[in-house]
Symmetry: C2
Subunit: 364 residues, 2 copies
């Protein structure tokens, strides 16, 4: 992992804690998601949270749109294996109720709470519960006044996002509250990246990163991987959430994979497979899909290679712990580039499974 440490230089930030999970100041980047069940249905919400926790999610957020949701939150917080962040808009009473219910984080913009008295009340309660607040500005939810300035050309959209977020932060700081996390999301990636870069010069609060409303998995995975990946690489991410119009398990899968791709998380098996070309003589796509299925249940860090060409296969996938390559009816099994077995092409998959089992025993 030495390479990765060289590549990414994390921005210096303060540290906050969502429950026991540290965020910022170089802590491992926790992956978040948000429940998509009706929060008032505590049982359904808890089932979803348990599934997400099993998939590697580390912090969960629940929308709290009304008092019934706030009361359900008590059961949810009590039963959740993950620290719960309450997502609140406009109503400061819901924030207080969420804190009383055991929420370990709040996501709200103090500027939307109405009177400054309300902000003070929330800040005081959050402080006494040791609960941080995430303030966040979405490009689309900028207030009329900020949008007007962008429209007039006085500010760029990312400058308006940053100024607006700084205004939210100041409202909390004025109440003596500094357990803050910041998010600046736009559905377009360049704006998002520039907003975070700019904010990095303005404060040292940890950043929550994401591309908002990225869409369905088909395109949303690409947008999120490019955008969040770039921010992680620039050291600007302290925690992240992938937003997809999909099962939240998919959000967690993609978030973890982004971190794994940048060497920041071991997330079980890594499958390397060649794209195939005019040289390939076996049905590699089918074989790779089957190997992916075999690996789906595994949690051990193992690099597996599936290559379409006996000549180049082992060399090209030298860094794989276990690999196979096939062509012209013959298949080979290799480990770290060394050929250890030759089998009939039809036996390749079972030979690979056998070798993976052997590897698992060795590293145990």
């Amino acid at each position: 992992m030495a390479d990765q440490i060289v590549v990414i230089k994390r921005r210096k930030t303060r540290r906050i804690y969502i429950g026991k999970v540290p965020v910022g100041d170089g802590a491992p980047i926790p992956v978040q998601s948000m429940t998509k069940t009706d929060t008032r249905d505590a049982a359904a919400t808890l089932i979803q949270i348990h599934g997400l926790a099993k998939a590697g999610c580390e912090i969960i957020r629940c929308a709290v749109p009304d008092e019934n949701a706030a009361s359900a939150l008590r059961e949810i917080c009590a039963g959740s294996p993950l620290p719960v962040i309450a997502d609140i808009h406009f109503n400061h009473k819901l924030a207080i109720l969420a804190l009383e219910a055991g929420a370990q984080g709040l996501r709200l913009n103090p500027g939307n709470l109405g009177k400054s008295e309300h902000v003070k009340t929330v800040a005081k309660e959050a402080l006494s519960h040791k609960v941080p607040i995430r303030v966040g500005v979405n490009a689309g939810s900028l207030s009329e006044a900020w949008r007007e300035k962008v429209h007039q050309g006085a500010l760029t959209i990312e400058e308006a996002m940053v100024e607006s977020a700084l205004g939210q932060i100041r409202l909390l700081e004025d109440c003596g509250f500094d357990q803050i996390k910041v998010a600046l999301k736009a559905s377009d990636v360049p704006t998002t990246i520039m907003a975070y870069r700019l904010m990095a010069q303005k404060c040292d609060y940890p950043f929550h990163a994401g591309i908002t409303e990225a869409g369905t998995p088909r395109t949303g995975i690409i947008k999120s991987s490019v955008g969040i990946g770039a921010l992680v690489l620039e050291g600007l991410v302290d925690t992240l959430r992938v937003s997809l119009t999909a099962d939240p398990l998919e959000e967690v899968f993609v978030g973890i994979r982004i971190l794994q791709t940048l060497g920041l998380r071991e997330a079980g098996p890594d499958l390397i497979s060649c794209p195939t070309c005019g040289r390939v003589e076996i049905n590699l796509r089918d074989l790779a899909d089957k190997v992916e299925e075999v690996l789906a249940g595994e949690t051990i860090p193992i690099k597996v290679a599936v290559m379409g060409c006996v000549v180049n296969g082992p060399g090209e996938a030298r860094e794989a712990d276990v690999g196979i390559a096939g062509g012209k009816g013959v298949g080979i099994v290799f480990r770290k580039g060394e050929i250890i077995d030759r089998v009939d092409e039809k036996e390749l998959l079972s030979a690979l499974v056998r070798e993976i089992e052997r590897y698992k025993k060795e590293i145990r």
Copy 2:
């Protein structure tokens, strides 16, 4: 697009041409793919190339493993709507045959051609055909000597890749050949990024970027988006190919989307959809999937939003050309954040399709 221009500062490079397609020196970044048919089957290969061209692919590469493939290349080059790059290993005669067949680019490593006489012959022929050569080093195919140096700790893997590629480049330069493009691929993203960063300090030849053997779409799309996206953002990409163990159409789709995500390509419709949360009151996932199907055939640049909440929907997706939001049985249709229609929730999809059609007529 002003934002995007600010974000990405392209590295200064020489320019080469693959056929009529410029590469480098600030030219738009062409998306490449590679045929996965047997090159000897010219008809099947041409069908695949036509499909890829229609999907937005701009340069195509074909493996040329033997003389039969080299002869089929004549028919392929004659019938291809895209400039064809011949992918050659070890055999300099195949390179000459490919040039005679009409290949407009070569991908080969001169160090693998054997005698220096062979390198001279290929360089001379390529020069007279005005055909550039891509040299490229894959982390996995580093020669024994370079790997030994890495093993001893004398060089990092990316330093070895860069030195090895510079050696390949020098062999061509010694023959007076400078129509060169460089690729440095590893299947792990940090190594790839560091290799390109390092090479950017060493030469001004244009870069072909990719993450090699990225795997199946499930994880390969994430790896490629993070890796290629980061390189594009750093201005280090002059042309790119996404490698997936999948239909090459998928490679082209992902490549184009990476560029679109960074504002470098208008690739038809862009669907913004909210990830849904405990507030959502309609089946948004289903609706978003259907809208995605509706948009699949469109080529016009239109930003469409599908939001789960009437209150925040139009505001959050203000930048969308056309959008819908629903909840509690009522749906709204909006354009650039302005509500223009209210419909029954069941009518939302058809109202959106109607509005998209109207928008298409307006921008024509």
